[in-house]
Amino acid sequence: MREIVVISGKGGTGKTSITASLAVLAGEDVVVADCDVDAADMHILLQPKNSVSEDFYSGELAVINQDICTQCGACFDVCRFDAIDVNDGVHIVDELSCEGCGYCARVCPVDAITNIPLNVGKWHIAKTRFNQHFVHAKLGIGADNSGKLVAQVKNVAKEIAIKENKQFVLVDGSPGVGCPVVSSLSGANFVVLVTEPTVSGLHDLKRVFELVNKFHIKAGCIINKADLNLDKANEIIKFLKDENIVHLANIPYDESFTEAMTECKTIVEIENSKIKHLINDAWQLINKNI
């Protein structure tokens, strides 16, 4: 079983549309995992059915029992997250600021504070309309443990792949370089970087590749909207060469991408689409390099 992770640094470069297209091309030999748990979109294209859901608990939240609390302020004094508010002398927990460190409960002289496990989201196992196993999740609003939920989605996807003897786990990652991205990269066999020839596309590609490098994972790159700016595209191609990143495809700027999405389809399902061949070539190259 091999794990392919698609990331981009910058958001909106076409990561999810391309991941879903790769999933379609991979057929039934793949387990698909949407690890962009903050703003998951792949279900829109893959339209999962027969979903089984589970709550995800991670971290804790401090709760003050006002019947016991003497309003001494010890919790307020130790909290480094400004999560204890004082309203007319009454100490209350600001749930969005509390990071669940538990320090307040440890110093409370009358044991008025308990930590409760925090429900930070839900994860789902389903089948896509292409009959592939699909694992996705939704992080609760403002929740803090996106990295752990990403790890959970990936682990479930891997377990299914092993049990069902599937060759690939295909992971749609999140934008950025922070904890959810770090979490999605761990254990990957190949990384697909999706970028665009813009100043920000290149800037973010370089930063996210620096992160990929720390994991020593082989990488390939798809340049989306490649004909938007030829100078920038060439700059990206040079960067790929210098860094030994496999250049997987140049996909032209084409509004049929958006049109396909508007119909909740992947671009490779559009008849006579030139892009279909380009993404198919990329998929073959990924297979060769993984």
Binding site: G9, K10, G11, G12, T13, T16, D38, A39, D41, I44, G59, E60, V78, R80, F81, L96, E99, G100, C101, G102, Y103, R106, V107, N115, L139, I141, G142, A143, S146, G147, S174, P175, G176, V177, G178, C179, P180, V181, V182, E196, P197, T198, V199, S200, G201, H203, D204, R207, E210, L211, K214, K225, L228, N229, K232, Y253, T258, M261, T262, C264
Partner: protein, 283 residues
Amino acid sequence: MKIAIASGKGGTGKTTLSTNLASFLAESNNVVLTDLDVEEPNSGLFLKSELLHQEDKHKMIPVWDSTACTLCGNCQQVCNYHAVLRILDDIMVFPELCHSCYACSELCPTNSLPMQAKKMGELRHFKTPKFDFIESRLIIGEEQAVPLIKQTLDYIDTNFTDDYIKIFDSPPGTSCPVIEATKDADLVILITEPTPFGFNDLKLAIDTMYELKKSFAVVINRYGIGNKDVDNYCDKKNIPIIARIPNDRKIAELYSNGELLYDKIVEVKQQLESVSNYINTLK
């Protein structure tokens, strides 16, 4: 006044709106633009500016001093993040897991885990011809954006008075970095595109704003593609749509070269005027 520019989905035009709006408003106001997308800060790519000041930003982590340590293991017990472990005769600290709560350090009976500063990123203060621009960037490999966002907001509070229009280019998503970047804003502008992805993520962002009890408005970018779901939804929920930036390959090309739009494309300037009018009604 504090205005945060946010979106659920990435790549919908947060940075485009932030940089163009800051430049436009700076023609008649004191403006400071802050890039809080510390994982992938991009605003600076679109601005000609001169560096005024730079400082390292740190997070505090415990460092083991074995001299007086009795290996009692209290530190391991009090750490809810498994960032401190006792392994045989060693205390090991995992800085990337640490949330800087100080519990292990301050509850250590022998003061064997003093807190020390560890660099997590850099803040830079630039001057563009018309306004101030602040950017923070996280060191690659550092996972937690929130502490750096928090310290950057402190810098703005300390260095800029309330008569400034403070614009914050926020990170994408709906989780902790976005909450931190938007929670003190007087107005959050959610920018989206009229596609199924844009619409889905806009709804998540709107739910987040309701949860935070924020005043917010919507800007639709690449208007003309996709469908009318965003318009219809906002109508139904009485959410103001304060600008519609047209879908135009010319805009994408200017953007790709790191150029501002409002002085080159008249429709963009008109849309910024509309945003500016809306902001003035809130003052």
